[in-house]
């Protein structure tokens, strides 16, 4: 009964999305206020019904209703309840429902949190969101119905959730990632609404900026969680593989980063308008492309679920419609909204342009590397694979080129600045950064030039920020007063840039300094890595809720002191018989110690063991958290709220837009 309610609710949600796509847009075209005023109500209605549907599917999972096909194939009665719930999005059908739910959430959020938006703009934005909703809800209903029943012949128990997905990281990774992915649909909707209305101005950028920042922050967190999960769950200590599916989430992030910065220029200076619109279209198209890559089964990956050509075709057509439609609209309307403001060559605009080009080129090269094997395969030219060396060779120099500019940008002035000012103000930070770059890597032997370069660039960035911060607060009567004058937007920028610096240092240091030993060990053996002695004591059999495991017990000693107990496991899950490695990690701010079990060797109780020493690997994820917090912080800026009091005035202005 409950699954049928869920299915019915999904159909109603689809109808509401269809109405939302058509009625307010028609209203905006015919200037019909009654039709336009329906938009917020329809958006909330869509949320209510998609949520109902989602709760029904969650209930089916929690009650072990194995008559429902997705539950039978992805859950099991032995599964702990929290994993029964997260199993909902550990499969194709359920994850699409999650996509639809998050889209409905964003749509309703735009409807409810935008009192300052003129009705005309709001109805267009919600209309575009509704159209995207139509696409995804019909995809779910027509090709991947999550409520399909297995009747007759209900299985006695389910097939179990893939053990790799039975993990706390996987409970929150997909929802956060989707919040980011789908969040770019808001930026996209604002861009399309602006093209439809023919008005691209600073207020447009001001409206869409907080939404873009929040979506970007969610995406940063989602990618970070995915990387962290891969690190501790896949059992071989890698944290980024340039796997096509990782790239699928990384490309929108890169394009989104360019979009954030370009929106800043559009809001503050009214420049780069057409460019910003194009970036918004590009970022969302990459989100859709990611969905296509992951969901169509064209890729070999952990994320590829059952393959079905009809599904791949549906998303491909949808993608073609969205990209083709929005680019056509862009071609028709963009020239009407170009600007005639100029800026000096040495100015903040130029530096942000550098950012935009760097991030756009980065996302295009990642896109190329990801699609190259697919294109070659489609042309029948062979089955190629493009590996990490390609991506590293392109991506690392691009980011290294970007960072010198990043140090200057927070400090630079809009419109026109002088190179002499930059030189005089930044001489001290430059010298200090050089000092850091030369001396800090001495703390870790042997001296590594790549780490020195990363520290130099990151220190340049951090010290440039510090110089700017000091310049901003020094005029105030007290430090506290000065700090209080700084806006949340500014703090957000500082946090995000600090996070970027931490990320760079973490990535380079862990890539250069990591030590990895794969070896055969028997109980009583020990091995020393960078001064840490790993002692292998014994192997014991343990039992979990839905698995049995061999557990190796290690002690780690340094300088005569025991500093950690590590107990990696080799698990065998009962329902599927699948074997899985559970690594044991002693985490620290400056180093991680990592042990994972391979397979037993011979009959004498020996095991293949994987021991890692990974310095500064946490910095990378901490950096990503900083970036996300920075993205969230910008939303608290007063200038986004101030308009709320003037909402009525804005609505009156909205009437003018109608003309």
């Amino acid at each position: 009964m409950i699954p049928e309610v869920g299915h019915f609710a999904l159909i109603i949600a689809f109808c509401l999305a269809l109405l939302l796509a058509l009625v307010p847009t028609w209203g905006a075209w015919r200037r019909n206020v009654a039709a336009m005023s329906l938009a917020p109500g329809l958006a909330v209605g869509m949320l209510v019904f998609v949520t109902t549907s989602f709760i029904c599917l969650a209930a089916a999972f929690l009650q072990d209703d194995f008559s429902v096909k997705v539950v039978a194939s992805n859950s099991n009665s032995l599964l702990p309840p929290i994993y029964k719930f997260s199993a909902l999005w550990g499969n194709h059908e359920g994850s699409l429902l999650l996509w639809a739910l998050i889209l409905a959430l964003w749509t309703a959020a735009v409807a409810l949190l935008s009192p300052q938006l003129p009705l005309l703009v709001l109805s267009r934005v919600l209309g575009v969101m509704g159209a995207i909703g139509v696409g995804f809800l019909s995809f779910s209903l027509l090709t991947s119905n999550p409520f399909e029943r297995l009747l007759p012949g209900i299985p006695a128990d389910g097939n179990d959730l893939n053990p790799l997905l039975q993990d706390p990281g996987l409970i929150i990774h997909p929802p956060l990632l989707y919040m980011g992915y789908v969040g770019f649909s808001v930026a996209f909707a604002f861009a399309i609404a602006a093209l439809l209305g023919g008005r691209l101005d600073a207020s447009w950028a001001r409206w869409s900026r907080p939404w873009t920042n929040v979506a970007w922050a969610f995406l940063s967190l989602g990618i970070m969680l995915g990387s962290w999960w891969a690190y501790y769950e896949l059992g071989w200590g890698g944290w980024w593989f340039w796997d096509p599916v990782e790239n699928a989430s990384f490309m929108p992030w890169l394009a989104g980063t360019a979009l954030l910065h370009s929106l800043a220029v559009t809001e503050k200076r009214g420049l780069f308008k057409s460019w910003t619109v194009l970036l918004a279209i590009f970022a969302f198209s990459l989100s859709l492309l990611g969905t296509f890559l992951v969901r169509s089964g064209v890729l070999t990956s952990v994320h590829a679920f059952a393959t079905d050509p009809a599904r791949g075709m549906f998303i491909l057509v949808f993608l073609a419609l969205v990209v083709g439609g929005s680019l056509t609209l862009y071609a028709l309307r963009a020239p009407a909204v170009s600007s005639r403001v100029s800026f000096g060559w040495i100015s903040r605009e130029s530096l942000l342009l550098v950012n935009n080009v760097a991030f756009l080129v980065a996302s295009l090269t990642v896109l190329f590397g990801t699609l190259f094997p697919l294109i070659m395969d489609a042309l029948g030219a062979g089955k190629y694979s493009v590996g990490p060396p390609y991506f590293n060779a392109v991506f690392v120099p691009l980011m290294a080129l970007l960072m010198p500019f990043m140090g200057i940008a927070p400090f630079s002035r809009w419109k026109s600045d002088s190179a002499a000012r930059w030189r005089s103000e930044l001489a001290v930070p430059a010298a200090a950064a050089l000092l850091c770059g030369v001396t800090l890597p001495l703390l870790h032997a042997p001296y590594n030039l790549w780490v020195a370069l990363a520290v130099l660039l990151s220190a340049w960035l951090v010290l440039g920020l510090a110089r700017d911060l000091w310049r901003k607060v020094r005029g105030a009567s007290s430090l506290r007063q000065g700090m209080r004058r700084l806006t949340p937007s500014y703090w957000g920028m500082v946090l995000a840039h600090l996070g970027f610096a931490a990320c760079v240092v973490g990535v380079v240091a862990t890539s250069q300094y990591s030590i990895e030993h794969d070896l055969k060990m028997g109980p009583g053996d020990s091995e020393v890595l960078s001064g840490y002695e790993f002692r292998f004591n014994e192997v014991a059999a343990v039992r979990g809720p839905n698995y049995v495991a061999d557990e190796a017990r290690f002690e780690v000693w340094r300088d005569g002191k025991r500093i950690a107990l590590l107990a990696p496991q080799k698990r065998r899950y009962l329902a599927s018989g699948q074997v899985m490695t559970e690594a044991a990690i002693d985490a620290g701010l400056f180093r991680d110690l990592y042990v994972a079990m391979g397979e037993p060797i011979g009959d004498s109780g020996d095991w293949a063991m994987r021991l890692h020493y990974k310095p500064m690997v946490r910095w990378m994820w901490l950096g990503a958290i900083f970036m996300a917090v920075g993205g969230f912080a910008t939303v608290f800026d007063r200038r986004y709220r101030r308009q709320r009091s003037g909402a009525r005035a804005a609505a009156a202005r909205g009437a003018q837009y109608a003309g």
């Binding site: 005639r340 060396p389 070896l519 391979g598 994987r610």
Partner: protein, 149 residues
């Protein structure tokens, strides 16, 4: 020239320079960093290059896995049931690696026709088969258990 036009020209020049640098970088990075997939039948027929990074995929032949007693070395054969390629690897195998299961080995082929693997990929869940392997088997005319279709 009009200052705005001049500025646009500079922007365009900058973008062109930057993107050609990027394209150059891409071409450089692509050389030697891509590798091609070969089914075992093609490798045995001598169609695969020696000492170049390649990938070979198929099923791990039943009874072919030999592990060393005192190191992590392992030797097995990858088959599409028409032909088998011997593979040597030193390291820890993925959890789902097993005889009679699909696997993809990437490495270099030596003069003796043995693939010296640097990485072994197995499928990541029970019901999944890497698409390359599925296609290699389809070409050979056998299913994944070695029964003729």
């Amino acid at each position: 020239m009009h200052p705005i036009r001049k500025q646009r020209l500079l922007v365009v020049l900058f973008v062109v320079l930057f993107s050609s640098a990027a394209v150059g970088l891409v071409m450089y990075a692509l050389r030697g960093n891509i590798n091609l997939f070969y089914p075992p039948a093609d490798v045995v027929a001598g169609k695969a290059p020696l000492e170049q990074p390649i990938r070979v995929g198929g099923m791990v032949r039943e009874g072919s896995v030999e592990r060393s007693d005192n190191s992590l070395a392992v030797r097995f054969e990858i088959t599409d049931f028409q032909a088998s390629v011997p593979v040597v690897y030193e390291g820890i195998l993925p959890d789902l690696f097993d005889e009679g299961q699909g696997a993809v080995a990437s490495g270099r082929l030596n003069a003796q026709g043995v693939l010296v693997a640097s990485e072994i990929l197995a499928k990541h869940d029970e019901n999944y088969m890497p698409p390359e392997v599925a296609e290699a088997l389809e070409k050979s005319g056998f299913d994944h258990k070695g029964q003729p279709r």
